[in-house]
């Protein structure tokens, strides 16, 4: 299990991978990917009980993670490859023809580590509930994790799933919401104000936790707390405050880098802020 310092070093490399992936094809979503880097790094290198090789779709006896906001595929691919699911070198193929690393993650190309296609928003929580119910039927005590964007919570299916999980006591499930307050057309306040996320999830009957998603210590300790809250009759949701573009100064504080790739100059400027800790692919 990696230390906080080691996790921070991995996260730095993951951020480099994100910038280089989207720059290479001049497309993709760096903003949310950078914001969720610390969370996904902590999850895959510290929290999850998982076996990358050989990858097994059913994942019996393993914790499962479902990325519901599939557009942040660059961070997902980087973390999956860096934790051994597939060769790091394959990040070069991101969004290119005949690649397993599609613009949005899919099982269709059989990329190890991906258990459901996502991209069209709002579907991952339902899928995760299904996987969690399967685990209960199989007497499998491992857990199911998800990640969602806060803008994604505007999709109605999320609340169908939230209602179900609470009513049926799906308590082997930890959902995380990337509360960066940004979406494509602007801030969530401007586009469609989400109101109090805490009050909403509590009203739906979930156990609500908070964390600073760009502080590795907060992420690691909150995930441990979340684990200790499972098995008590409630689904757990972590409202994770992050900064879109976190780790690259000129990408922070705006929705403008949601789905825009850096040019050559911007890439160089960004990489200069991120130490190459594990070696670039």
């Amino acid at each position: 299990m990696a230390s906080i310092h080691e996790l921070q070093r991995i996260a730095t490399q993951v951020r480099r991978d994100i910038l280089r992936q989207v720059h290479a094809v001049n497309s993709g979503h760096p903003g949310g990917s950078l914001g969720c880097t610390d969370f996904l790094t902590a999850l895959y290198f510290h929290t999850l009980k998982h076996t990358p090789v050989p990858f097994e779709m059913d994942g019996n006896g393993q914790d499962l993670f479902f990325l519901s906001n599939g557009h942040i595929s660059p961070v997902f691919y980087s973390v999956l490859s860096r934790s051994g699911y597939f060769p790091v070198d394959e990040l070069k193929t991101f969004r290119k023809l005949n690649s397993r690393l599609q613009g949005h993650p899919t099982t269709h190309e059989k990329l190890p580590g991906v258990r459901i296609a996502s991209g069209s928003l709002g579907q991952g929580l339902s899928v995760a509930i299904g996987a969690a119910l399967s685990k209960k039927l199989n007497n499998d005590s491992t857990l199911v994790y998800t990640l969602h964007g806060d803008g994604e919570l505007q999709e109605g299916q999320i609340w169908e799933a939230a209602m179900y999980a609470a009513a049926k006591k799906v308590d082997n499930l930890i959902a995380t919401v990337d509360a960066n307050g940004q979406q494509i057309d602007g801030s969530t306040d401007h586009v469609l104000n989400l109101g109090s996320l805490e009050a909403k999830w509590q009203a739906f009957g979930w156990d609500v936790l908070h964390m600073d998603g760009n502080n590795m210590e907060s992420v690691v300790s909150t995930l441990e707390t979340a684990k200790s809250h499972t098995g008590k009759g409630k689904s757990v949701v972590i409202l994770m405050k992050t900064e879109m573009g976190s780790g690259v100064d000129f990408m922070m504080g705006s929705h403008k880098w949601h789905g825009v790739a850096p040019n050559d100059e911007q890439l160089a400027k960004g990489l200069a802020q991120l130490e190459e800790t594990l070696g670039d692919y």
Binding site: T107, A128, I129, L137, N138, A167, K168
Partner: protein
């Protein structure tokens, strides 16, 4: 060789599904059932009663149901979802597309009350586009069995097939005439009556009407061949071509829109391989309305007399 059939009684195809699901519950511990607040209508209550731990009441939240079903395949379960055909397809198209079809999940989408024969509830519930919606999805299997016995057999068969399936059936009691011990082969058309003048390709509730039409045509000196296309996708193209090679013309009959249904699938095969006249018996670019199933089938041109007329027109066009 023709498959045997004998009229036995009137039964609803949805009860065939319920009977099949119950038997599956006893045979296959991996089978689970999910329902969106229509357990009685889908005849899933016997399964729920006998296997409460494998039955999941989702509530009126069909999108969530499809997603949960997709997730339950991870861990090895075989989920059967149940709701009306409208809520099984149009309402949840994107969930099926991304979480089931594109993700390649082994979910069986079981849909009752399809088509006009839902009756008095009217057009909001009478989906006539579901076959088209489902057959457009890559690798989706689309099945529309013709009676109680065949729906039961199909329900058992799809559990053995690894991949997404859309199983469509209906509400009213209709003639039960296929054999109780039939082996259901996905993608294999069933020849019910041999003939040499016209091929009638029917699916679902229209199969019995096609047999009645063939009897009436015989009295007029027309020898019609009747083929039950219970699997619309993958279509048994060899059976279609073999029959039309012999008869020289065809009629398609279905409780569905003309656009995108069985008829269009037959037309595609014929136009690419064997261009011969084809007449459609289908709803012609229209919504349904309230009425009894029988009244609606007559008003919207899906009755036995419509198949007879279509056969005569097809023959005249040879």
């Amino acid at each position: 060789m023709t498959a045997p059939f004998t009229y036995t009684d009137q039964q609803d195809t949805r009860s065939g599904f319920g009977a099949g699901l119950l038997e599956l519950g006893r045979k296959n511990p991996e089978v689970v059932a999910l329902c969106a607040d229509l357990t009685g209508s889908l005849k899933m209550d016997a399964f729920e009663k006998e296997f409460p731990e494998r039955f999941f009441q989702i509530g009126i939240a069909e999108a969530n149901m499809i997603g949960i079903a997709a997730g339950m395949t991870i861990g090895g379960r075989i989920p059967f979802t149940g709701t009306f055909a409208n809520f099984s397809t149009g309402r949840v198209y994107d969930q099926i597309r991304q979480s089931v079809a594109y993700s390649g999940k082994n979910v069986k989408i079981c849909a009752s009350h399809a088509g006009l024969t839902l009756g008095e509830d009217g057009a909001t519930h009478q989906i006539l586009e579901d076959i088209g919606l489902m057959k457009m999805l890559p690798h989706m299997v689309v099945i529309n069995p013709c009676d109680f016995n065949q729906t039961k057999a199909a329900t058992l068969a799809i559990a053995e097939y690894d991949g997404p399936v859309y199983l469509r059936f209906g509400r009213p009691k209709v003639p039960n005439f296929t054999t109780a011990d039939q082996k259901f082969e996905i993608g294999k058309a069933v020849l019910l009556k041999e003939g040499k003048d016209v091929s009638i390709f029917a699916t679902g509730h229209l199969v019995w009407k096609a047999l009645m039409a063939a009897e009436a045509l015989m009295e007029k000196g027309i020898d019609a061949e009747v083929i039950n296309i219970h699997t619309i996708k993958p279509l048994d193209e060899a059976a279609v071509l073999a029959s039309v090679s012999k008869t020289g013309c065809a009629v398609s009959a279905e409780e569905h829109q003309r656009h995108g249904g069985l008829g269009d699938s037959i037309a595609q095969v014929l136009s690419m391989n064997l261009p011969k006249p084809l007449e459609y018996v289908a709803v012609n670019d229209s919504f349904g309305e309230s009425g009894t199933p029988e009244e609606l089938m007559v008003k919207y041109g899906l009755d036995t007399s419509d198949i007879i007329k279509a056969a005569e027109v097809a023959i005249a066009r040879k």
